[in-house]
Symmetry: C2
Subunit: 341 residues, 2 copies
């Protein structure tokens, strides 16, 4: 199969220890010739240390476990990319597990990863507040494993993990502020499902901005959506009938639905009605009127989650960190100055 230290030691006529020492670049004073000889042989055979053996004694696998709901979701694949790129630079590799929105799988994957002795865990569960029993179990297993863990994107209920996430309150605020600065007063909001913290934050950010600009938040201008395209069209239909001049859709899919509906109603997007979305999915740039939206630094968040877990591995007693990244406004063509008509 593969060459071992023993093989190299035999061929070099030295002990296994010596070989191990030089291959690990240890300070130990090894004579230059021995070092050279060993290195040459190792290179010749393309020696690759057996990491199971090494892990067994060092108790470090240089492997990270990544639990996520669905790698095929662009948000998570972007996140995974950021994590893996950063990991590579630190000589870690990452095992990923899809839990497909199934709380039991979240737990199975967790156990699997612990069994594989990963050095750290990066977690975005699909666990929602209502999965109380699963959450308890999940947290207990993480705790007992003594493995460092960080939560990404969303905090895991019932426990305050070190975390990296995006400040959706700020995002919602930014979106509404942009509209307000353009002079809009009657600003509708199509929310996400309000049992999700993310959706709530985006909505609350919108409310905050209105208040800050002295505009009274009008419940009649809020349409409860579900992050799907359809609710965007329904929301727009409703809001336009309420006389809004601008719409904040809490994700791009709904913004796109709204975009369509506004057009279907014979109005011009970005002129008669301003629309702003949230997420900055690739679709935004492809529209006839490219969509103004809130951009999330997903990949950056991934990289930082990775950096954080590596810090934590090195120094488990590290002080708690809950890092928030700020989303940013991307102005394109669907928003413009309010004009009294």
């Amino acid at each position: 199969m593969s060459y071992t230290l023993k093989d190299i030691a035999r061929e070099a006529g030295v002990s296994i220890t010596t070989v191990s020492l030089v291959l690990n670049n240890k300070q130990c004073r090894i004579s230059p010739e021995t070092r050279k000889k060993v290195l040459a042989i190792a290179k010749k055979y393309n020696y690759n240390p057996n990491s199971s053996a090494r892990a067994l004694v060092t108790k470090k696998t240089y492997t990270l476990g990544l639990i996520l709901p669905d790698i095929s979701n662009p948000f998570f694949s972007e996140l995974a990319k950021g994590i893996e790129n950063e990991a590579q630079e630190h000589n870690y590799s990452v095992i990923f597990c899809n839990s497909n929105q199934n709380p039991q799988k979240d737990i199975n994957n967790l156990c699997l990863l612990i069994g594989k002795q990963v050095d750290g865990l990066i977690i975005t569960t699909s666990l929602s507040d209502s999965d109380s029993e699963y959450i308890r179990q999940f947290n207990r297993i993480v705790y007992e494993s003594k493995i460092s863990a960080v939560a990404v994107d969303r905090q895991i209920p019932q426990h305050n993990y070190d975390s990296v996430s995006i400040d959706h309150l700020e995002g919602g605020f930014l979106a509404a502020k942009h509209l307000l600065e353009l002079g809009h007063k009657k600003i509708g909001c199509i929310t996400g499902p309000l049992d999700s913290a993310t959706a709530r934050e985006r909505y609350n950010g919108y409310v905050n901005a209105l208040e800050m600009f002295g505009v009274k938040a009008d419940p009649n201008l809020v349409y409860p959506g579900n992050f799907q395209l359809d609710s965007g069209v329904e929301g727009a239909e409703y809001l336009v009938s309420q006389g809004v001049s601008a719409i904040f859709a809490c994700n791009d899919m709904m913004a796109f639905g709204a975009y369509r509906q506004v057009q279907a109603m014979g109005k011009i997007v970005g002129k008669d009605i301003s629309i702003i979305g949230y997420d900055d999915i690739p679709l935004c740039e492809l529209l006839e009127y490219p969509l103004t939206t809130i951009h999330q630094p997903i990949s950056k968040m991934g990289r930082n989650a990775c950096r954080l877990i590596i810090e934590l591995i090195k120094e488990p007693q590290h002080k708690r960190q809950n890092i928030k990244f700020l989303p940013s406004l991307v102005v394109r063509k669907t928003t413009s100055k309010y004009e009294d008509s």
Copy 2:
């Protein structure tokens, strides 16, 4: 840290072997009481075997290595999902590595995965024919590692790996055939970059269909694109000026470019000019006239790649397999019967 066989053995008052035996469900005749007692203790402590130790002796890690160009590309993330879902069902886990189109990284990742003693490799390299030296090295390393490997989506040059891919010849054929059956005769083609095998196959499929329907392939009706949106609009502009009644764009991005250009020229997509794409990206369904296209069974391909590598691991002498999946036609609104005007 974690409990070991020894801990359980001590508490149960039996030998380590016995514990190992019952925990591995070995046939060995163990008395029911012993078994029960051991199981109970293991459960109590939430025993998780140390897989490094196990791997060290069994030489199996139950881990697969996945090398791909970029997990954030929807094609690859869908593929990864298929692979991981299947892997989970067979108790394998998967380490993924992004090589970011960098041939050197392909090789680094390969070495890394071999070092981690993965049982099998699933590979989609970004290596192109021109990276001859890298390819040679890559193949040599795989060969010397004696680790089973399968190529997904594209074969790796200079070596015939077991592989799973999509029959793009058939895909191109299907696209053109659809148009021909609708009565179109002057069918333009916007190709991908023809130094890629994938793009060539799609184009060749188109040519084959034309021939089969007795339509002479006209080089003036072929526009060399690059899979980017822009070349779709340029291609459409050119092809419409050549008097085509239908366009086969070799991917959806270009089809979308063509769609826009056709509209910009004052023609009605799906009536004046039929357009068919290739890939079936989410965008297709979102258009005003949803895009007719060729769908690729990506996730299925991933699952099969995984199944294949697992077979290969079990039985390395298995006969060679090069599995091709058939793409399928998805008719939506951008293609229609040819009407003489």
